[in-house]
Subunit: 387 residues, 2 copies
């Protein structure tokens, strides 16, 4: 195990009645809220109305920042920052999924940043101060509700970059599984794929002697495999939604990264996918579903030992009978099979994406670290495998 | 899954070089430290000297509270509180195991408590304020380094009680596996048993649909079983010490309790053991080793379903071949076998404890909740099984 620091002060309110804490928790930080939301789904499901009602009942003044898109844009961050500065906002509240939360986090930091917000991403100027952040999560996926990162896209530059800082931990997050009942099937699946990728990008490490972190990672994958099938049958299965939500939050809150690797240097498959969604604006989870199995197939040649464990513990493959090579490759085949069963795309052709930009995208990010260091040619190879 | 709140702001510095953070981290809270230590082992292993050197180098003034005993006493808390008040201490630093940390926590709270410190325990007056607390852990066992509880004994009243409050979370804890190299074999084992008990008392719950919490609990037990054998062979095996230390900290920091049960109502076997060590002053881990398998055997009759899962996932017992009853009972037999293999006691006769006080001890704590509600007769039965 490597030496590490672990710190995560985000307070989690988990359950079907937890929206009610919103008033008293927000009031700990002030009376003026910037309420960040997406493209209208929180209004359609009646959540926006509920949140506003609770805030108004507590005499909290609301300023709105609406319209966060998937692959959230720096433009909207600039708009939100302007409002937050002018109105002297006390706390930024995201009601939405990862994109909404990341927009809220970036606005909260940008208010305290002297310069254009994109500089924080572009010049690796991780923020050192931010307004308090809180979230009401509507989608199990990114884990942003309990971590210190944010990912923002710049469409003019075709770039999607991240910032990390302890000031970006939400003060609290409300995780109510019933809020996720109405998430469409497609986005439920993309969320599950995103969680799976978070786990496996941390799991596939060369750091030896991390048996607890390994088992906790495997625990998330096994749980997702069970619950994904249940939730597709019944989108209002409370326990399935709750278990997927918990998996999402636990997958990227620092626990699986303990003693494994510097988080900043890992998440290689995410780096590849960020290029894909920066250029083609496809859903993040869909891009990961296409890339993850191919990335795994490609980096396996570097060292199959962890892949053997994966095939054995996740799919019950008996390495003594089947041999190491077969157990390792079959594990990834079965992962692909699961993706297919739950309806996740496995090929770039699903989005009519061809090889035109592969060289350019690879150029942007090479080299990429992780289980195997990938140079430009490696990255192009993986993109080609995904065609 | 039940609704829950999760919050744990303790910063963990984990690794072989982490003692060095002590200066800068302490200085965030002030320049006057109450340094709480035990019965001299931290001096014998040279740790005390190292800590003092780092603090003095940072111009931090040290006041000592020495002599914390296992099953730490309220008397010493009173002494420490007096010093802390008189010297206007800024932060309480525990260098030791769970007893030392719990003493430090209680002193930190008692400074802000208007009344005798024992009232907090006796009258269930959980503290609402405390001085900042920090720890340098020397023994993997109690988990106190990353939780909000403290257990203190009152020898005059033969009682051992606990307090819980978010103000008792250490601000930071230094977990350096090399510091645990010199822990004697016996106490290494007792620590492992304590961790095992923490996990299983949370694992054996009737709350259904907690697959992730189950797998994370099983992950700790499986890891402890592997690492316990390694560390007995080589007490200076860094990775084994590190993995056991991580298991200890993760076993009782709130993660396994998520959505399972109110922590205050559980830990039934600990309640029984606290009576034992309150009356006979035996090592806590030894008492747990004797009681835990008997408690499990006894409460199993209430519902074997979780025990079947335990036998299957921990010991690989094939329930389809062996049947539910056998898988459940055999699982506990194999747990006992593991305890025996690592040299942990399985009977009260090991300490020459007879049945004289069973009725009195049972009277003190009945009823005890958990997997099965235990009345006085049940508790006496379990003590009798442990003879």
């Amino acid at each position: 195990m490597k030496n590490f620091k672990f710190y995560n002060p985000t307070k989690i309110f988990f359950g079907s009645d937890k929206l009610n804490v919103l008033g008293s928790e927000i009031l700990k930080y002030g009376k003026k809220v910037l309420l960040v939301t997406g493209q209208g789904s929180v209004k359609r499901i009646g959540l926006y109305k509920k949140v506003v009602k609770i805030l108004e009942k507590n005499d909290i003044k609301i300023y709105n920042l609406e319209g966060v898109e998937p692959n959230p844009r720096i433009d909207l961050v600039r708009k939100g920052t302007k409002i937050a500065k002018e109105k002297k906002i006390d706390i930024v509240l995201a009601v939405g999924g990862g994109s909404t939360i990341d927009t809220a986090k970036t606005v909260a930091a940008a208010v305290k940043y002297d310069g254009d917000p994109w500089e924080m991403f572009d010049k690796n100027n991780d923020p050192v101060a931010a307004l308090p952040i809180a979230t009401v999560l509507t989608l199990a996926a990114t884990g942003s509700e309990m971590n210190n990162g944010a990912v923002i896209s710049n469409k003019i530059e075709n770039r999607k970059l991240s910032i990390h800082s302890d000031v970006l931990f939400p003060k609290f997050s409300v995780l109510d599984p019933t809020i996720t009942f109405s998430v469409p099937q497609k986005h439920t699946i993309y969320g599950i794929i995103d969680i799976t990728a978070h786990v496996l990008e941390q799991y596939f490490t060369h750091v030896k002697e991390v048996p607890l972190q390994d088992r906790w990672a495997e625990g998330i994958i096994l749980t997702l495999m069970e619950e994904s099938k249940k939730v597709l049958k019944n989108p209002k299965d409370y326990d399935s939604r709750a278990n997927i939500l918990l998996c999402s939050t636990m997958a990227l809150n620092g626990l699986l990264a303990m003693g494994v690797e510097d988080e900043r240097t890992t998440h290689p498959c995410h780096k590849l996918e960020h290029e894909l969604s920066a250029y083609y604006d496809i859903p993040h989870g869909a891009g990961l579903s296409i890339l993850l199995p191919n990335w795994l197939d490609y980096v396996m040649k570097n060292d199959i030992s962890k892949f053997v464990q994966f095939g054995n513990r996740i799919f019950g493959l008996d390495v003594n009978k089947l041999g190491e090579k077969y157990t390792a490759t079959e594990g990834i085949k079965l992962l692909r099979k699961w993706f297919k069963e739950i309806g996740a795309p496995l090929s770039l052709s699903y989005f009519n994406i061809g090889k035109e930009k592969f060289e350019e995208m690879a150029d942007n990010i090479a080299p990429v670290g992780g289980y195997m260091e990938l140079n430009k040619a490696d990255i192009v190879n993986i993109f080609n495998m995904a065609l």
